[in-house]
Amino acid sequence: MSTSVVETAGRKTEASKPKAGRRLPVQGQQLALVVLIVLLAAGFVSRSPEFLSLSSIENLLRSASMFGIVGLGMTVVIIATGSLGGIDLSVGSMMALGGAIGAGLLGTAFSAANPVKLPAVLAVLIALAVTAILGAVSGSLISRLKLAPFAVTLGMMSVARGLTYLMIAWAIGSSNTAGVTFSDPLFDWFGLTNYGPVPAITVLFVVLAALIAFVLKATPFGRTLFVLGGNADNARLAGINVRRTVVIVFALSGLLAGLGGLILTGRLSSASPLAATGYELEVIMVAVIGGTSLSGGRGSILGTVLAAILVSEIDTGLDMMNVPSFNQYLIKGTILVLAVVLDKVYQARSSRKLAAASA
């Protein structure tokens, strides 16, 4: 009873004047990313001039495209299920599994023991199907049993890693951790082909990013993802099929992680059971630094693309400067936490504005 009185008392009939301020911060964030990319590049170049060499840039683009493709899935997962605590921790293992299945089914591995020899296209499609299905399993556990995405995908992370070991052991006929080394034209396209100076997978990345950006912005399904991520209750009462949507976004994340794993395998011409260990950190960084709010309902694909470049730039630059990997962990971890802090600050500010507007 008292609450309704408070509400009535607090309400003013005049609505606040609209401000153009709401949209700007996101664009400002993207601008900030561009500035950061340029500043960092300048910094790295001053330390080691070969940072600007063609091979270095090509390497950076490959790495950005790989993390970016997986990051697109992560972005969609967080936008659509952030209000449920949505995150996909299994992407690193899913990458390893995708690569292992793709390479393992070729039967062309040196010292291959498996009796199966599939055409590369079929092997790749099976790899993508398996990772997408495992993602869908995570999604349906999360939406049907209302489990925490953190716990489910942490479990899936371990399951996918285990499957990777089994796949590779089956492919090479022994259970050591050596991995599958092979050569295949399709995988070379993933890992080596350039169109002019641009790696093939960068073209693939840009096409996928544009496609997903279009779905998010211009289709009914994309609209429902933002509503669901903002507030699952609201989405359900608007007639949105929450379960199906959650399954789809996690399946997409699995699919794109599998694709990222195939790219990684192509770059290395080998699939190892230890591949992509810890890559979920990079992928989550790409989404969060790109401006996707961990609370859901907010994020942009352009931001993810820029963040993929920034994160790979940091990786490449630190490698070139011979920064030991443990220092790299420190630096990247700090950057991730800073990005989350910035998101919180931004949210506190915009919710204060909302409160002030409706008071």
Binding site: V5, A9, K12, T13, T219, G239, A357
Partner: protein, 522 residues
């Protein structure tokens, strides 16, 4: 009939006033509770009971007035000070911690410490002292029991034991019987009589009028923030109490427009959920069907069940005479049902989105072609609706969260207009809405009914539900307790039905009204 004041009251509240902003909710309330007395505090939703109790227990600060205990003035800066002064507040929603033992709950934050080793808990003393208190209450519960394993009634007894362990002399109980069965209520009353004998006073809030007659010595009736009367609870009839609680004429004018009642559009038969028992109703074209009842009587649950938001355990729903499966809100929307929920901010509107996006939300297919959103068309449709409904400012791109409550509600209504809902369920449509927007929303609902829609309006505001409705169903404990035709509308009848009683006037009894006064709780 007026009960004389107590010669030496244990608690005296004098001239208590309280305002929120420029709305005054308490207008100089005087209240006295004698030593060892059970005083009933009665009033409708919104009468000011909670505010008064929160002020007494230090949760809220009064604007003016004074509180005296044992004749001396007291000031409470917070709930802790009120506790120290011998007050205890047992809320309707129990606050026991389910994973701790009874003794830990009783001494929460005050566990007895070992002598000489004050950083260690003296468990022996803890269980012993808790056992002593429970014994004093004649309650047979082992203090080592985990509270979550106890029934609701026993958990309530643990709360009372906790109050006594703090030497409470005045215990406020806010609807303590709301979730108890008949036998548990009897047990609680036995305990309350024991407390009385010990000189403990109880301030008892309940909507169940016959309980007031059974357990209270006197009853004080609060209406619109003023004390109406204090009466002898044992000799005053429930009907008299209900009349005093309501006691006002239809003060606001509702521009009820009469329209032809058409064919049946919605039929719900024998609907049950964990919160609803065997609910049946029909609604018609051009009709505004009001649903009244106390908060928690199942009104919102009924709305959510019909809209497919909560699973139903039994029952059938017919739209336009055809049986439909409404197992999700999406299915409800496809069958032309819309819901304006009670919680506008979390369920009605997506505050961070624009008006246009909110309006198209439930019918995105209408603004899409070949799987692609037609954002221009969406904006155009939204612009027309915000202008028609006089949303201020009338902009399609405006972020909905920046609008006032009334304007947000208009956007939510616009969503269902755009979806073309034929059956619109509105749950507390004007709560927290200013007067101007209120009239606009009422006008809109009338217009919709005039155009042939079916409106089902849930409201706690009796003048509103009586002014707007063609027919009213009153709910009590998950059932339809009574049905009133427009010519039989009276606040007394609604309050009686809502309290689980039958109106004394000879009214059309509802089909499924139980013969007993109190609907069984089991």
């Amino acid at each position: 009939m007026v009960a004389s004041s107590v010669p030496q009251p244990l608690l005296r509240m004098e001239g208590i006033t309280k305002s929120y902003g420029n709305v005054q909710v308490l207008h100089g309330v005087d209240l006295e509770v004698g030593r060892g007395e059970v005083l009933g505090l009665l009033g409708e939703n919104g009468a000011g009971k909670s505010t008064l109790l929160n002020i007494l227990n230090g949760v809220l600060q009064r604007d003016t007035g004074s509180i005296h205990i044992d004749g001396g003035p007291v000031e409470f800066a917070g709930p802790k000070q009120a506790q120290d002064a011998g007050l205890a507040f047992i809320h309707q929603e129990l606050s026991v911690l389910p994973y701790l033992t009874v003794a830990e709950n009783v001494f929460l934050g005050r566990l007895p410490r070992r002598k000489g080793l004050p950083w260690l808990v003296d468990w022996a003393a803890c269980y012993r002292q808790a056992g002593e208190i429970l014994e004093r209450l004649a309650v047979k519960i082992d203090p080592r029991t985990i509270v979550g394993r106890l029934g609701t009634a026993e958990q309530e007894l643990v709360e009372i034991a906790k109050a006594l362990s703090m030497n409470a002399r005045i215990i406020t109980m806010d609807e303590p019987t709301a979730s108890l069965t008949e036998s548990e209520i009897e047990r609680l009353f036995t305990l309350m009589r024991a407390l009385k004998a010990d000189g403990v006073s109880v301030l008892y809030v309940s909507h169940r009028l016959h309980e007031v007659a059974e357990i209270c010595d006197r009853a004080t009736i609060l209406r619109d923030g003023k004390i109406v009367n204090t009466v002898d609870a044992r000799t005053t009839s429930s009907h008299t109490l209900a009349t005093m609680m309501v006691g006002r004429e239809l003060s606001e004018l509702f521009p009820k427009t009469e329209h032809e009642r058409g064919r049946e559009t919605l039929r719900v038969s024998n609907l049950s959920t964990p919160k609803l028992k065997d609910v049946s109703l029909t609604a018609h074209r051009g009709e505004i069907l009001g649903i009244a009842g106390l908060v928690g009587s199942g009104r919102t649950e009924l709305a959510r069940a019909v809209f497919g938001a909560d699973p139903i355990t039994a029952g059938e729903i017919f739209v336009e005479g055809e049986k439909v499966r409404v197992d999700s809100p999406g299915a409800a929307i496809r069958n032309g049902i819309g819901l304006v929920p009670e919680d506008r901010k979390h369920q009605g509107a997506v505050l961070s989105m624009s008006n246009a996006h909110n309006i198209s939300l439930a019918s995105l297919s209408k603004v899409s072609r070949f799987g692609q959103l037609d954002r221009g068309g969406e904006k155009q449709a939204a612009r027309k609706l915000v202008q028609d409904l006089q949303v201020y400012p009338p902009r399609a791109e405006q972020e909905t969260g920046r609008l006032s409550g009334g304007n947000q509600q208009k956007v939510v209504l616009a969503k269902w207009l755009f979806a073309g809902s034929k059956i619109l369920i509105v749950d507390e449509p004007t709560r927290g809405v200013d007067v101007g927007a209120r009239a606009a929303i009422h006008g809109l609902l009338n217009d919709l009914a005039g155009e042939g829609a079916t409106i089902i309006m849930i409201s706690s505001d009796l003048p509103e539900v009586m002014g707007m409705s063609d027919r009213i169903l009153v709910m009590h404990e998950g059932r339809i307790a009574g049905e009133l035709a427009r010519e039989d509308f009276s606040e007394e009848a609604i309050v009686m039905y809502a309290s689980g009683l039958e109106p004394t006037r000879d009214l059309e009894p509802a089909r499924d009204l139980e013969p007993t006064i109190e609907g069984s709780n089991a």
